[in-house]
């Protein structure tokens, strides 16, 4: 069908889709997120198509036409979900497909070897919704992801999509802003600025032109929340932006996506095209008289372009460098016009807030941080992936209930939150609720929602050095503290990890942190001290061990450790000697081996291959 010309027509179309849908039929949902595709989801999907075609089965298979976005449990991909049985299979291979079709699709039985198994108890869990990784989640921003085909606008409409927009078009623009204000929605990109307040101050500025922007320049290492939404449910972002534009009186929007997200760009482009065809974008949207369109602007891969003023310059075709935001972008933003910039996750929340109301949204979360937040939970936990939980959940709940505890039964040491310029929070503060204000108070930040879990084998000085190194690479070089201060900070940290640090190093580091926090031009620089400040605050003893005792307690910093073999534990199997790239392990078969410390490059291969845990670090 062509363009939908009114709200009534859209609702009629939705009813038509619902009547044609046959939810009782078995459905195979193959995750086509980037992670699962990398793990081989495509051959799995093709195998399903082949088997179904061969057997002439009349089922609605989500292959080719209805592959889904990311389910979040990426380390176990490719993921295959089956409906209506609500079963999730992990690490599915093409050769598993005939069995799945035979047993589950036709017979309704579970293929035990493909289901989730609790790492601690060994208990099998077949039901999608009962897997601990999913059980504790509450999905708002990720509401459709994994269940709809991102390439199908019909799937989105059938799932209730664009109902937030139809409701919004019947409201006064001012009331929409009030609703967003009352919901307590705060920016999900990192700053946590109240979205409604931002919108309100933008409409207060007199102007003939206004812009709405979506920040999809997700650059934190290990973070893929926004990517997942853009890839798996692009219409939720588009719908949010249309509602925002209507409330703000804007007629042009831009989605800024980093070019490293080709699937996001492809799915967004297709979704924009589909929305235009249906009359949901462009002139006279749904016969309301309101016109708005969205363009995609592709970023070239600079981390700093996620900073709002740099992003706006980049959209305008200038060099992606921040400017002083003494005059705010709601006043003078893109092309010097009043501009509202929110990130992908923020926009994706908007349709649900309008549809279900501010009170509903505000009932979730904490006093100061409403709603849910999507986190990418990575690091040394059993279950890694993308999770959406209510604000206020404690770090421990996230790590233990959803993450399934620390990998290999090791000790939980810290979490790093907020991306490269976030901070590290120690295990002893793990009962801290995750919300904007608590994290900031603890010396870290929410950032865009990266959570890296660290165990006892992590050296906190090395962690600070790693993140500082990242920021050195990504500093745009415009202002002195960031351009010249960060490399000096990295020098000092490197010297400490190499055992050349003196007592004065700590004071110098703290001085540079002070300078960056007060003196840098943009958010990248002012928050760049967090990795160092938070690790000094909570793990000062580790710094001191490196400096005073020339010792790395976690056994990470190469200059401060030596590898040796415990003669009691060594069985003389020769495995380490065979794998040593330096050929510096000697010893006769069935006799304890020794490592020549002078030749050893501390690569750790011997420790990794030893099956008797005989290689020790001191």
């Amino acid at each position: 069908m062509g363009a939908i010309k009114s709200v009534e027509q859209l609702e009629a179309y939705r009813r038509e889709l619902a009547a044609a849908a046959r939810p009782e039929l078995p459905t195979v949902l193959v995750c086509f997120g980037t992670g699962c595709q990398a793990n081989g989801a495509r051959p799995v999907a093709e195998a399903f198509m082949d088997v179904i075609k061969e057997q002439g089965l009349e089922i609605d298979v989500n292959v080719g036409i209805k592959t889904t976005g990311c389910h979040g449990y990426c380390e176990n991909g490719p993921l295959v979900a089956l409906r209506p049985q609500d079963i999730l299979y992990l690490k599915v291979k093409p050769e598993d497909v005939p069995e799945i079709v035979e047993e589950t699709v036709k017979g309704g039985r579970v293929v035990e070897r493909l289901v989730y198994r609790d790492k601690a108890t060994g208990e099998a869990v077949a039901r999608y919704s009962e897997i601990p990784f999913y059980r504790h989640q509450q999905r708002i921003a990720l509401r459709h992801i994994g269940t709809i085909d991102p390439a199908s606008i019909d799937d989105y409409i059938l799932a209730g999509g664009y109902a937030g927009l139809t409701k919004a078009l019947a409201m006064k623009p001012d009331d929409i802003i009030s609703e967003v204000e009352r919901s307590g929605l705060r920016g999900r990109g990192g700053g946590g600025f109240p979205a409604g307040t931002k919108w309100r101050s933008c409409v207060a500025v007199e102007s003939d032109v206004r812009y709405v922007l979506c920040n999809g320049d997700e650059g934190d290492p290990g973070a893929f929340m926004d990517r997942s939404i853009m890839e798996g449910d692009p219409h939720s972002v588009i719908e949010g932006m249309i509602i925002g534009a209507y409330a703000l009186g804007s007629h042009q929007g831009y989605i800024y996506v980093r070019d490293e997200y080709p699937l996001a760009i492809r799915n967004l482009t297709a979704a924009l095209e589909a929305a235009r065809e249906k009359g949901l974008l462009g002139e006279d949207i749904l016969g309301s008289g309101f016109s708005f369109d969205i363009k995609i602007s592709r970023g070239g891969g600079a981390f700093v372009c996620g900073e709002s003023s740099a992003l706006m310059r980049s959209v305008a075709g200038e060099v992606g460098e921040p400017r002083a935001k003494y005059i705010r972008s709601v006043e003078r933003g893109l092309y010097d016009k009043p501009t509202v910039l929110n990130n992908v996750e923020t926009w994706a929340n908007v349709p649900e807030i309008i549809l279900k109301g501010a009170d509903w949204y505000a009932s979730i979360g904490t006093e100061g941080s409403k709603g849910t937040k999507v986190f990418s939970l990575v690091g040394k936990v059993n279950n890694t992936g993308l999770v959406e939980v209510p604000m206020g959940i404690s770090i421990r709940e996230l790590v233990e209930n959803i993450g399934g505890g620390i990998l290999g039964g090791k000790e939980f040491k810290a979490v790093q939150t907020g991306g490269p310029s976030g901070g590290c929070i120690p295990e002893r503060l793990a009962d801290l609720p995750i919300d904007f204000d608590s994290l900031t108070e603890a010396g870290s930040m929410m950032g865009s929602g990266g959570i890296i879990v660290m165990d006892e084998d992590t050296c906190m000085v090395d962690v600070a050095r790693y993140f500082t190194g990242f920021l050195v690479e990504e500093s745009c070089g415009k202002c002195t503290p960031c351009r010249d201060g960060l490399p000096r900070m990295l020098d000092l940290l490197t010297e400490i990890t190499e055992g050349c640090g003196g007592e004065e190093h700590l004071a110098m580091l703290e001085g540079l942190c002070d300078l960056l926090t007060w003196g840098a031009l943009c958010g990248l620089g002012t928050s760049a001290a967090n990795p160092v400040l938070s690790t000094i605050k909570y793990f000062r003893d580790e710094y001191e061990a490196h400096i005073r005792d020339k010792r790395c307690p976690a056994g990470v910093c190469k200059a401060l450790i030596t590898y040796h073999i415990d003669p009691e534990a060594c069985t003389g199997c020769r495995l380490c000697a065979k794998n040593c790239p330096q050929e510096c392990i000697t010893g006769k078969r069935k006799e304890p081996h020794t490592i020549d410390a002078d030749k050893c490059i501390k690569c750790g291969v011997c420790k990794d291959v030893c099956t008797f845990d005989a290689v020790r670090i001191s």
Partner: protein, 242 residues
């Protein structure tokens, strides 16, 4: 023009709304150091951070660069507090570490009591070791001269002004405005036998018909003539003999 009153170091001044703090302060005899700002260049400023001052507004205090912070109602500025000096000293120490041989930076650092750098120093011979990457040169080229011959390239500590690919630029007119504006004298401009060399390119100079002094590059004359329609013969004589 709308006027607002602003307090700087305890004294109240009337100033045009949205003018920068630095100019209002300087006009009233309050000194704030600066390097990367030039009042003739709209986009200049905000980069070197030596002009950071305390801005108190709406119950909130933060350090802002005086060179581009707009004067608005209710603003109180403090230019001489322990925090301002502490951060300025930090900035100057870093600048000194970056360009240890720059006379200008050494003097400015000394006035804040910094003689020695505790950090690694960048040392070397070429222009990089005088350049503080403030971008005033590229802003002058783009906004005052209007030719866009140079731009900031690279990023982080490697950031530097350059012609495209560090090759002689076809659009450069050899006017030397960049070298003139540079706060640390980092841009080399040499003249010998009626030829000026700047940004890897030689420019033939026009000699004054009266005194014979080579005073303006031919390329600059061409540029001005093409832009203004001014009579070419005007440039036969140097400003002293017109």
């Amino acid at each position: 023009m709308e006027k607002v009153s602003v307090v700087i170091d305890g004294r109240t001044f009337e100033a045009v709304k949205d003018r920068c703090v630095l100019e209002v302060a300087h006009e009233n005899g309050i000194y704030i150091p600066s390097l990367c700002y030039n009042s003739e260049v709209p986009s200049s400023g905000g980069s070197c951070r030596v002009c950071l001052v305390e801005a108190h507004q709406g119950g909130r205090m933060r350090l802002v660069t005086a060179c581009n912070y707009p004067v608005r109602k209710g603003l109180e500025v403090k230019t001489d507090t322990p925090l301002v000096h502490r951060i300025r000293r930090g900035v100057l120490e870093l600048l000194l570490a970056r360009v240890p041989d720059s006379e200008v930076i050494r003097e400015m650092a000394a006035s804040e009591g910094i003689a020695e750098v505790r950090f690694r120093k960048d040392e070397g011979e070429n222009e990089r070791y005088k350049c503080i990457a403030c971008a005033l040169c590229t802003n002058v080229c783009a906004e005052v001269v209007g030719v866009h011959a140079i731009a900031m390239t690279e990023r982080g500590a490697d950031k530097k002004p350059a012609t495209p690919y560090d090759k002689p630029s076809e659009v450069c007119i050899g006017c030397g405005a960049c070298a003139y504006a540079c706060p640390t004298g980092a841009i080399t401009m040499k003249e010998k036998d009626g030829v000026r060399r700047i940004w890897h390119r030689d420019f033939q100079m026009v000699r004054c018909s009266v005194c014979g002094t080579p005073y303006i590059p031919q390329a600059q004359v061409d540029w001005i003539v093409s832009r203004t329609g001014k009579d070419r013969s005007f440039f036969d004589k140097c400003p002293d003999h017109r």
